[in-house]
């Protein structure tokens, strides 16, 4: 059971700083997921923890010890690479035993551990094969097995599922979740996949351009994003974010964007402001009768997936909105629809993108 703490960690390549002072504490036994757009520094941060990269300043603390100077081979962590990085010239067994041999463990002990891990991951029949002779999912399991046998202080995963096809990804995702339930070790997991992050994490760390935007439990981030970046980033399809001006009128507040005016309850403390952003997730926009509607929009495209429907529609003078509905909506391109934003799930952000409200009381 291992606790990992980053203290004002910075990393520069040459003159370019790519990690700008990260403070983060990862509790023992937690499943922490790093998400963020490509190039934001997720892998770099993970590799800093692993010891594969040094820090430029700041400290990495594992179980109370500053390990900045310790090489990767001595930190006692295990890593699962996006490419799996299985040794192609070794059998599955050898792949899993390699790390143990390096620490000069007794043969029988190695044997026991490898066999245990293999049977847990259901790869016992393949122990003699080379990685080349395995399917993607099997390889993935071997990579995990290689990490497990070492009984590491923590597991680090760098986009471990991104090379698998959609179906397999779903299956492996479920396996990972149950693995964490079984082993209970500290796990740090990098992904750019929404669903993985939401479903696997105890805690999600949203990174952007080398900085932490928000840390929290998945539904916490979904329901209460602290800024427009997190609001836009968490949730798929993306939250509709619309720039507007807030105008007080009639004891109510109106969000003005182009010709459209959306009235919200004035229970929100909001000063009259030219720059505000409001957000509504696609699943929080309803199709209603004209009289109940906030706005009317033209359907640009409707995507019927069978069980659900996505509508892309543009209200007059506003950017396109995505609407997500269950079922098969009989809506055609060019048709008009009347939309209403679910106030309880609406988000308001100020001119700097900071949150004003997550959910507006009616």
């Amino acid at each position: 059971m291992t606790e990992i703490i980053l203290k004002d960690v910075r990393k520069a390549y040459g003159d370019v700083e790519v990690i700008h002072g990260i403070d983060l504490s990862i509790d023992s036994g937690k499943f922490v997921v790093f998400v963020g757009p490509s190039g934001c520094g997720k892998s770099t941060l993970l590799r800093i923890i692993a010891g594969l990269e040094g820090v430029t300043s700041g400290d990495v603390v594992i179980d109370g010890d500053v390990v900045n100077e310790q090489p990767a081979s001595e930190r006692g962590l295990a890593m699962v690479f996006q490419s799996y990085a299985l040794y192609p010239h070794m059998s599955v067994y050898k792949n899993m035993a390699f790390g143990l041999e390096n620490s000069k463990m007794r043969r029988e002990e190695i044997d026991r551990r490898v066999n245990d891990a293999a049977s847990m991951l259901q790869i016992t029949p393949y122990l003699k094969r080379r990685p080349k002779a395995l399917s993607g999912g099997q390889r993935q399991r071997v990579a995990i097995g290689r990490a497990i046998v070492r009984d590491p202080k923590a597991f680090l995963f760098d986009e471990p599922l991104s090379n698998l096809d959609a179906e397999l990804r779903v299956a492996m995702r479920k396996e990972l979740a149950s693995l964490h339930a079984k082993l209970g070790g500290t796990m740090i997991y990098v992904t750019h996949d929404q669903v993985e992050a939401m479903t696997l994490a105890n805690t999600i760390v949203v990174l952007n351009a080398g900085r932490i935007e928000q840390v929290g439990a998945p539904l916490d981030l979904y329901n209460r994003p602290q800024n427009t970046f997190v609001a836009g980033f968490i949730g798929s399809p993306r939250m509709n974010l619309v720039d507007a001006a807030a105008e007080a009128s009639d004891g109510r507040i109106e969000l003005v964007t182009g010709p459209q005016r959306i009235a919200i309850s004035s229970s929100i403390r909001i000063t009259r402001s030219d720059k505000i952003t409001f957000g509504a997730r696609p699943e929080h926009i309803e199709i209603v009768d004209e009289k109940d509607a906030d706005i009317t929009a033209t359907v640009d495209l409707s995507e019927q997936l069978g069980g659900e429907t996505y509508l892309y529609c543009t209200p007059d003078g506003m950017p396109q909105l995505t609407v997500h509905q269950l079922g098969q909506l009989p809506v055609q391109r060019g048709q008009e629809v009347h939309l209403r934003f679910d106030r309880a799930s609406m988000h308001l952000f100020d001119g700097d993108g900071k949150v004003i409200a997550n959910g507006i009381p009616q």
């Binding site: 081979s73 990085a85 040794y87 390699f98």
Partner: protein, 344 residues
Amino acid sequence: MLTARRGGASWHWTDVFTYLYLAFGVCLMFGPVLWLALSSFKTPAGLLEFPPTLLPLGQIEVEVEGHDKPLPLYEVTMEDGSVRELAQIRRIGIIAQMVDPADPETSIRVPIASREPIREFRVAWENYTNPLERFNFLTYLNNSVIVTVVATLITLLINSMAAFGLAIYEFKGRNAVMLFVIGTLMIPITIILVPAYLVVTQLNMVNTLWAVILPGAATPTGVFLLRQYMLTLPRDLIEAARMDKASEWAIYWRIVLPLSLPAIAVLAIFSVMWRWNDFLWPLVVLNRSEVYTLQIGLNAFQGELDVQWHYVLAMTVVTLIPVALVFAFLQRFITTGIASTGMK
């Protein structure tokens, strides 16, 4: 498009050209070597002949009553135009004294221009057996094998270590070392023969096999080739090994080396070729027969005033045999390996 012909499509001129080119190419590439091999079985006289015969031939000799030694048989065109097979007793000037083996009593005088030797396919094995008996063939072979094997092993080891250092790490001076390696790719050994010999004498290595083994061990070509290949290995593997507590040596020995096998095989092939065929340098540093390599031993047939071609050719074929074997065994490495190492 000279790349691929799809089934069914009609013949393009390039298709015809391809097969003609290949047929011609194979003859051109193998023909000369075959010719050499065939020629090596000819007698010295057979080698001199013009026009040359394809197969090694020898004159038929017959036992004739009243003559101790067998006599050579000729086909003679008699004055009346008839053709007879006669054995020659002796030749005096431009007249040969001949005899019909069936009628040993009467001797016939024939102008030498009207006879043709009768010959049969005969292999001059003595071209091979004589030199092999005359020389300490086994010693030379042994030395050549030692030199080739040890030198190749050393080359593979130190070149791959250097390549590993240059491919896997980023360190100060890396570019300088690379430039240096590439720069020395350019120096033909021929032009530093004498200074290199001086160095070897100062190290007291003259007349030891080390004198042949060590100087060529640090080949720039090898470092370059292996490094280029190692650069293509996924860095993840090395980091995975580090995470697996592997020491740098273990990474080199247990991960990178086995994975570089195609490139190593290519270098091994080249190294074996270089060492096996090496002539000029051993000639300078080895002058005692117990340390001769095959190339020196077998070239001893090149005298000052006479080259014993029948031996030279036969011995050339002997030295070619291992090359042919290496070729046969490693052919797939050669064709795929060099391509995959890219040798760029």
